[in-house]
């Protein structure tokens, strides 16, 4: 209990003090009274202001027509107008006796001068001074209240009271900031020489805003001739120097170069920066040395500005200085600016090094160029050959490449084939070069067989008028093709050190298609007469074997014409037949020409005999051509997975050409590809063994028959193709699906005149991951089949 009583005693301290109620009532009455008084004052002053506003508005309504009358009164007014004008003048004098009316009139004129322009405005200024309202404003200048002084200066400035200039300019160095600034603007506004007075006398700083306002005033002058502001570059007032520099730059006063150079040594960065800007704008070359001298002592911003000036004004002798900055300067911005300045003076001195893939070299670009050139040749073959030979080749290339639309889908397959062909041809040639083999003959058994004689004849019969145009197009294609090949061969020739005789050079072009076309008819006046049938038969080589007879005749008549070698005059039959050991056929067909000559009793020219002899020698020395695999091209651009899938396809559709190609893959960098290529090679060789055996048997049979029977040339011509036909047909019947290579399909489609060209390169497989074990199982199954 004792503890509780002590505790409760302690709480007494927090109990409410005793306040006398009378005092509270007194305070309530006092504060209520103050509140009432405040509201009363607000009400009274509000009423006074609104009453004054109403009074002013009413007075303005009274004064407005009077002012209008004064403003628009003209000397040629009528009597009534003049009478009214005089009455209003009297009335105005009476009104102006009261300060309120003077105040209202001043307000009216100040408002009107803002809304009016031209002559009316000038009349307002005149009226203001005529009514001596400016005296009221001048009186305000004597006030001790800064707001009144400021108001007075503003009024005098707006109403253009030049008489007040002397009064206002005294306030330029007033200690009250608002008055001072108002006075500065007024001084500059009222008189053109005000700017000079201001710059001469001002001792206070000039804020950026004030500088802009002053510049705005100067710009508003219509006939203002700015003073030479370089005079103020020596001012002790830092802001005056800065403002003078800006004015120099604004008015392009280029007579202050020495002062500008000197100001580069100024301690103030703003002045230094402004001087640098002037130097850059005016192109003060003599400032470069000073810029370099002060560079080390400057801040980063100024350094950047200096480098900017050097980059625009500098010469090659300044690069050394910039190089030293680049080496010594630790600041990244300055360093980068120095590099950019060097590049500006001497372009491409520094090239980007960061993030550059250094593995990419010009060689890659060269390979791209080769691809482009082959594309270009395609374009040329596709009637894109420019008509004007004088135009640069690069332009033609650009045109052909920049317009991919020229790839007509109709000819897309042909173009792809041409692309493959050109690349393959270059590869073969490069292989030959590496092996230092003499290119006497180019094996071109992979060339497409162009058999259009029937079509040509049909077209000729149907529309003889169009014949010439079609021929010219074809001629263009052939010529472009020839040009491309000749360019390649020229390279080979120049590469070889041994001299090749004229005949050899001619034989190098023997693989070209016969260019003796119908154009010969046009040149009949110059050339020996040729029968049209002969010409047509030569256009399409290898259509019939007996064409050789006519070709030989032509060869005699036109020794300069590059005829195809005898073996290429064979009847193409089918593409498959063509692929079957053409070398064997060539040997058998070779003597036919001689016999033809003998039969026709034509004298064999010495040159011709010599040529034939060399031709035979060359043919015997022809290196074995392993064939062109379409997969080789596909392998170039695909990844590992695709390569593995393609290897499966090789097994499915490949033939001897693929065997050779697979052998090359045994040295592939990719182990997986190498391993799989080895497996596929074995499988493919196993698959192809029966075919090769059959072929060898056939060849042997033919040789035996020719040895035993020794038929005449005509019989050989007739019998050999038939035998080949039989053999090839039997092979195709047996293993058509397996042995038919992609290029055969391609050629076959062309020969059979199948319209479905879109399916030429249809490789019907899907991309999927297959383990090697599964592939091996598949291969075994195929083998068993």
């Amino acid at each position: 209990m004792k503890i509780i009583s002590q505790t409760y005693q302690g709480i007494k301290l927090f109990s409410a003090p005793k306040i006398p109620t009378d005092l509270l009532w007194d305070l309530t009455i006092v504060f209520s009274g103050l509140g009432f008084l405040f509201l009363l004052f607000v009400f009274i002053f509000r009423n006074r202001l609104s009453n004054k506003a109403i009074k002013v508005a009413r007075q303005k309504k009274i004064l407005a027509p009077i002012i209008s009358n004064f403003l628009f009164y003209e000397n040629d007014a009528t009597k009534d107008e003049s009478y009214e004008y005089i009455n209003l003048k009297v009335e105005m004098r009476e009104l102006l006796k009261t300060p309120f009316n003077r105040l209202v009139l001043t307000e009216v004129l100040l408002d009107l001068q803002k809304d009016l322009s031209g002559d009316s405005r000038n009349r307002i200024f005149q009226l203001y001074q005529d009514l001596e309202l400016h005296l009221d404003a001048i009186k305000k200048l004597r006030s001790w209240r800064w707001e009144l002084v400021s108001k007075g200066i503003l009024e005098l400035t707006q109403m253009r009271v030049l008489a007040a200039y002397g009064f206002i300019k005294k306030f330029i160095n007033d200690k009250r900031g608002v008055v001072r600034k108002q006075a500065q603007i007024a001084t500059v506004t009222l008189k053109h020489e005000g700017i000079s007075y201001f710059l001469d006398t001002t001792r206070y700083g000039i804020s950026e805003w004030q500088q802009l306002k002053l510049l705005d005033v100067l710009n508003s002058f219509e006939d203002f001739t700015p003073p030479r502001f370089k005079a103020w570059l020596t001012s002790r007032n830092r802001d005056v120097v800065l403002f003078a520099l800006r004015l120099i730059r604004h008015y392009n006063q280029t007579d202050a170069n020495k002062a500008l150079i000197e100001l580069l040594k100024h301690k103030n960065d703003q002045i230094k920066s402004e001087a640098i800007l002037c130097i850059k704008d005016f192109g003060v070359f003599e400032a470069l040395n000073m810029l370099k001298s002060v560079f080390r002592m400057c801040s980063v911003d100024i350094k950047l500005q200096i480098l900017d000036v050097i980059s625009s004004l500098g010469k090659e002798e300044d690069i050394e200085f910039l190089e030293s900055i680049k080496k010594k300067e630790s600041n990244f911005l300055v360093n980068s600016k120095a590099i950019s300045a060097i590049n500006a003076i001497k372009p491409d001195t520094y090239v980007p090094t960061e993030g550059i893939d250094k593995t990419i070299t010009m060689k890659n670009i060269e390979s791209d160029k080769q691809v482009n050139s082959s594309q270009f040749s395609e374009a040329m073959n596709n009637n894109e050959l420019p008509q004007d030979d004088s135009s640069p080749v690069s332009d033609q290339k650009e045109n052909s490449l920049s317009n991919p639309d020229y790839l007509d889908p109709e000819f897309e397959d042909e173009l792809i084939f041409d692309l493959c062909f050109m690349e393959e041809l270059e590869d073969i040639l490069s292989d030959y070069k590496e092996e230092d083999q003499e290119v006497d003959y180019l094996p071109l058994d992979f060339l497409p067989v162009v058999s259009e004689q029937d079509e040509l004849k049909a077209a000729e019969a149907a529309n003889p008028v169009k014949k010439q145009g079609v021929e010219s197009d074809e001629k263009l294609e052939e010529e472009s093709f020839r040009v491309e090949l000749e360019a390649i061969l020229d390279n080979i020739r120049s590469h070889e050190e041994n001299d090749i005789n004229d005949y050899q050079e001619d034989t190098e072009l023997e693989f070209l298609p016969i260019v003796v076309d119908i154009d010969m008819e046009d040149n009949s006046g110059e050339m020996p007469e040729i029968h049209e049938e002969d010409v047509l038969s030569l256009e399409v080589f290898g259509e019939e074997l007996n064409v050789q007879n006519k070709a030989a005749l032509l060869y005699d008549k036109f020794p300069e014409v590059d005829l195809l070698p005898g073996e290429e005059m064979e009847k193409p039959e089918t593409a498959d037949q063509k692929s079957i050991d053409w070398m064997t056929f060539k040997k058998d067909a070779e003597p036919i020409d001689d016999d033809v000559h003998a039969e026709n009793n034509e004298p064999e020219p010495d040159d011709y005999a010599e040529n034939r002899r060399r031709d035979e020698e060359n043919l015997n020395n022809v290196p074995e051509f392993k064939g062109f695999s379409i997969f080789q091209e596909l392998f170039r651009t695909c990844d590992r997975e695709s390569k593995l899938i393609l290897l499966d396809e090789i097994l499915a559709v490949g033939d001897e050409k693929e065997v050779h190609f697979l052998k090359t893959l045994l040295n592939d960098a990719d182990k997986k590809v190498r391993t799989k290529a080895e497996i596929i090679l074995k499988e493919l060789q196993a698959l192809l063994t029966p075919e090769i055996e059959v072929r060898e048997t056939v060849n042997q049979t033919i040789i035996n028959e020719s040895d035993t029977e020794q038929p005449g040339p005509d019989e050989v011509i007739q019998s050999v193709p038939n035998q080949i036909n039989k053999i090839s047909t039997s092979i195709m019947d047996k293993e058509e699906d397996i042995l038919k290579s992609l290029e055969f399909c391609f050629l076959h489609d062309f020969e059979s005149d199948d319209d479905n060209h879109a399916s030429l390169f249809e490789v019907d497989f899907e991309l999927e991951e297959t383990p090697i074990e599964e592939i091996e199982d598949n291969l075994k199954t195929n083998k068993k089949r």
């Binding site: 508005a57 303005k60 407005a64 027509p65 009358n69 628009f72 009107l112 809304d115 009016l116 009316s120």
Partner: protein, 123 residues
């Protein structure tokens, strides 16, 4: 000679009275409207020969006035607009809606008189 009726729509009384005086002196019968509502009321009662209107007005702007005259009244009365400087967007809108001419503040009363005369001659 019959005086042409001119509707002056301007909310600034001083400027309006000055322009009124100058236009009347120039030979026009001027009706002054201090805001958009007055303009609308007047247009319901009468058809002026030409309208001179400020763009910025209380209740009913100059742009709305043009729209009202052109689209609701389907009238081809020439309209000259008065706009303060730096108000190009409104001026463009006014021209798009069918204003005939434009004069910027500060206004020269003599210039306005010439422009009014030219527009009436065009009609």
């Amino acid at each position: 000679m019959v005086k042409k009726n001119l509707l002056l729509a301007e909310d600034d009384e001083l400027l309006a009275s000055l322009l009124d005086y100058r236009l009347q002196k120039g030979g026009y019968n001027v009706h002054w409207a201090s805001d958009g509502r007055d303009v609308k009321e007047y247009l319901k009662l009468a058809t002026p020969d030409i309208i001179v209107s400020d763009i910025m007005m209380p209740y009913f702007s100059g742009i709305e006035l043009i729209d009202y005259v052109r689209n609701e009244l389907n009238s081809k009365i020439p309209i000259i607009i008065i706009s303060s400087a730096g108000n190009e967007e409104n001026v463009l809108s006014a021209f798009e809606l069918g204003a005939n001419d434009f004069i910027s503040k500060p206004v020269s009363p003599s210039e306005l008189l010439v422009r009014v005369g030219r527009e009436l001659i065009k009609q």
